[in-house]
Symmetry: none
Subunit: 124 residues, 4 copies
DNA sequence: GTGGTCTAGACCACA
DNA sequence: GTGGTCTAGACCACG
């Protein structure tokens, strides 16, 4: 459903990405309950194993907490959420700068390119 | 050598990336001969099969031409090289914009972030 | 099995040809699962690597899609299948016309030859 | 020059093809002298080894005779030339019929296709 | 179970 | 010497 079997990115990580994004945008709020593994599997048209792995990964990152017998919840720890948000941003910007530098571009050129392609996207 | 065995990106694609970058920066010039499969294998510390795959991939992209018994050469077709260069740039910028938008940022904020992290990197 | 080790055409391409033909003749239908790499390897009496290459090639041609952990499937995109069918036909006819013209033959003569050799083959 | 380093067909066979065609069309006449290996190599922009192999192949087919110290000549044996001409034709037609049959086409359909693509080529 | 990558080592035709 | 193909066998992440 929201997953791409072709992409080189593993499906379970695609779902991780999606959830992290929803958290970062506050669409999923601290303390909110996530769908059960089975529900999410059906929703996403994916094997329950895959969702299990997604939740495991999110738990490792402390973005999510599993309460036995109750389900899986977004952490209430706002520091962690904030940290994650910053890390997401940082990674995007950092990767952009690194790659543009590899291509031999200066900061001014990066901004030029940015303007140029933003215009091309207008109306989206 | 220049490859990372941990990266999820396959080694043969890492070498593809490296060569494409060298072409984009004109460090590898149109018509120039690449090291033979065996030489490159030793240089890169990988199996010749892996390099073979790299060269095959580059040939599919028309960045490289192979002449039987003579070796593998950067294409002399400058249009293809230019197109590739643009595509590389576009992908980087496009991905940046998409991800930043997903994070809910405006163009002004993107440029802010860019400035901010560029300063942090000063001296590199 | 269905491959010819003497032919100048690589084995993996012979298998590609065979599958494309089966698709063109609708013996392999859109969405249908192909044998796993290992199964096909045994069926065809070749190394799994060789089949892997075959499937990779077919995927590049978009005739086949691979879903992680599930297997390899004929594309459901009927346009691509139809396009492939036409391309196969075109290539055969085009090559025939080109070569016959090189031999200095007119259209009438081509048809004559066609009739003549078709009769010779009767009963096949 | 007249050779294609990209084609899967070996260069020496591409030259063989070219010469056979010239003989079939009587552009090269029985008894006529071919250029020396060195001349032909320069003409064709190819390694002399490659031309050597070409002449060897043509000699094996008895289309050409080498007279020591004099050079290489098209055979005067018109039967062989005629046989070759027929064989060339046969192979083209035979391959066409085989492949069209593999695609599941009847004789009528073959002729249809032939007409169709001949029209498309008009003006060439 | 699936496909994907990699190594090691071999053989081949071609230039 | 060059690239191209193939086998055998291994390991991996993924579903």
């Amino acid at each position: 459903m929201a997953d791409d079997y072709q992409s080189p990115r593993p499906i379970y990580m695609q779902i991780v990405d999606k959830i992290m994004l929803q958290v970062a945008r506050n669409e999923l709020k601290p303390g909110q309950k996530l769908p059960s593994v089975r529900e999410m599997a059906i929703e996403s048209g994916v094997n329950p194993n895959t969702v299990q792995r997604t939740y495991g990964e999110l738990e490792r990152m402390q973005i999510v907490e599993t309460k036995r017998g109750q389900g899986t919840f977004i952490t209430k720890n706002k520091e962690i959420v904030e940290e994650m948000r910053k890390k997401l941003q940082f990674e995007v910007v950092d990767q952009f700068i690194s790659k543009m530098k590899e291509l031999g571009m200066t900061e001014a050129e990066m901004i030029d390119q940015l303007h140029y392609y933003m215009k091309e996207r207008e109306g989206e």
